[in-house]
Amino acid sequence: MFRNQYDTDVTTWSPAGRLFQVEYAMEAVKQGSAAIGLRSKTHIVLGCVNKANSELSSHQKKIFKVDDHIGVAIAGLTADGRVLSRYMRNECINYSFTYESPLPVGRLVVQLADKAQVCTQRSWKRPYGVGLLVAGLDESGAHLYYNCPSGNYFEYQAFAIGSRSQAAKTYLERRFENFSDSSRDDLVKDALMAIRETLQGETLKSSICTVAVVGVGEPFHILEQETVQQMIDAFEIVGEQEGPAAEPDAAAAAGQEAAAADQGGSTEEGVAPMDI
């Protein structure tokens, strides 16, 4: 995208009906390191790439537990993500206190989206520069949502955000039809493989990624580093293109089409906004 005279204020429309500041906020999400999420009928797995700035520093926390039944993975401005996680934790805890019942994910996600929308319609605010993958368990089953800086939210079977997420999305698109009935462990394996796709050949090790699970009878928790490393070793997916235990592709043709299209971090001006 190039600078233009309509992109200074979030409260200025462009003649084409676009809010450039909001779109720039979405760009911030695309610059952040990758986060992925996928779900079956009973479990949701969140994963993210944790790249430290230098060997001397620790890496940023990008997956947050919001409640026993809800967790979130973020990509973009992690500071904004932390603030929103605190808001979500607060909402969950208040609901739990009043109703002795877990807050339905669908409602939390709408509240989050409405909060983000406010920032797109006030001249003294700026949009949140973070995309959130919200994983949660409801009465109605397992859910995975994606919350945009624009204030939109979408429900997904599987999704990836952040830099080089298109590679992960391609992988997920090939496999998503099987996810509904996947076992918990297969789901984690698929998450790790999707993360590996975003590393573009770099070795997958548990020190550069984080995985979290929530499911029926399993409160949200982040997996221990050793556990993740064991799973990586067990599935022998380090540095391999397609592991020997991989399931047959359900829709290889669709996967190829998606790979040929948009490379993620689109630089086309004519592209319609809000497309992920």
């Binding site: 009043t98 109703y99 002795e100 019942s101 339905p104 669908g106 409602r107 709408v110 409801d138």
Partner: protein
């Protein structure tokens, strides 16, 4: 004689001037509510009386109401406060329905919401002068709980308010069991209500029984219990009485 009067902030509910703004005593009251879990859900019974002190003033008061799709609320105590609670719950259910997302507040959630309301009012020295019974069933899970005017809440297989605690609960402890049929449940409730009718001065012989199941809530038409007053102990009741003056 010099004394320092304690100065209250303007909006406080303590001190003599504020007495007109908070509940000190109830005026029109309902008496016991009795409820139990049975095979398909919850059964609840309450009479239709609204007493004005010792006068049995109002005889057509419905003290049980459906809340949303899954719950049933019965109340004893101040009738106007019960109506206020119904208004709060109306708003609550309305906002819940407006989400239109397949989630709904079940009896457990409503019960806890009421507990918060009652306890918070009690903390402000301005209670809602009621004892509430909240029962319901959602996704096969039966729920029955009670909240008092000071915010004491708990769940059980059978609950009662007021005199019902003293007269009905002992009967229920003896005779309640899991998976009562509808007919047995009604018989058991009627047994309790009959005892209350004999012994509670504020009870009237016009009651309703409400049931809530997965299908919904139904409430019976008002009816009366058969009573028997020819027990020999009731004849010449003062015969053996020791005078007090």
């Amino acid at each position: 004689m010099d004394f320092m009067a304690s100065k209250q902030p303007e909006n406080s509910l303590l001190g003599p001037e504020a007495d007109s703004q908070r509940t000190l005593y109830p005026y029109v009251t309902g008496t016991s509510v009795v409820a139990l879990k049975y095979k398909d859900g919850i059964l609840m019974a309450a009479d239709m009386g609204g007493s004005y002190g010792s006068t049995l003033r109002y005889k057509n008061v419905e003290r049980m109401k459906a809340i949303g799709k899954h719950s049933l609320l019965g109340a004893s105590g101040e009738i106007s406060d019960f109506q206020e609670i119904l208004r709060y719950l109306d708003d609550l259910i309305l906002y819940d329905n407006m989400w239109d997302d397949g989630n709904s507040l079940g009896p457990k959630e409503v019960h806890n919401y009421l507990t918060r309301v009652m306890y918070n009012r009690r903390n402000k020295f301005n209670p809602l002068w009621n004892s509430l019974v909240l029962g319901g069933i959602k996704n096969g899970q039966k729920y029955l709980g009670t909240v008092s005017m000071i915010g004491v809440n708990f769940e059980d297989d059978h609950v009662a308010t007021g005199f019902g605690n003293h007269l009905a609960r002992p009967i229920l402890r003896q005779e309640w069991h899991e998976n009562l049929s509808f007919e047995d449940g009604v018989k058991l409730l009627e047994k309790c209500m009959r005892v209350l009718l004999y012994r509670d001065r504020s009870a009237i012989n016009k009651l309703q029984i409400a049931k809530i199941t997965e299908e919904g809530m139904t409430i019976s038409q008002p009816y009366s219990l058969k009573t028997y007053w020819e027990f020999s102990a009731f004849e010449n009741p003062t015969q053996g009485a020791v005078g007090s003056w």
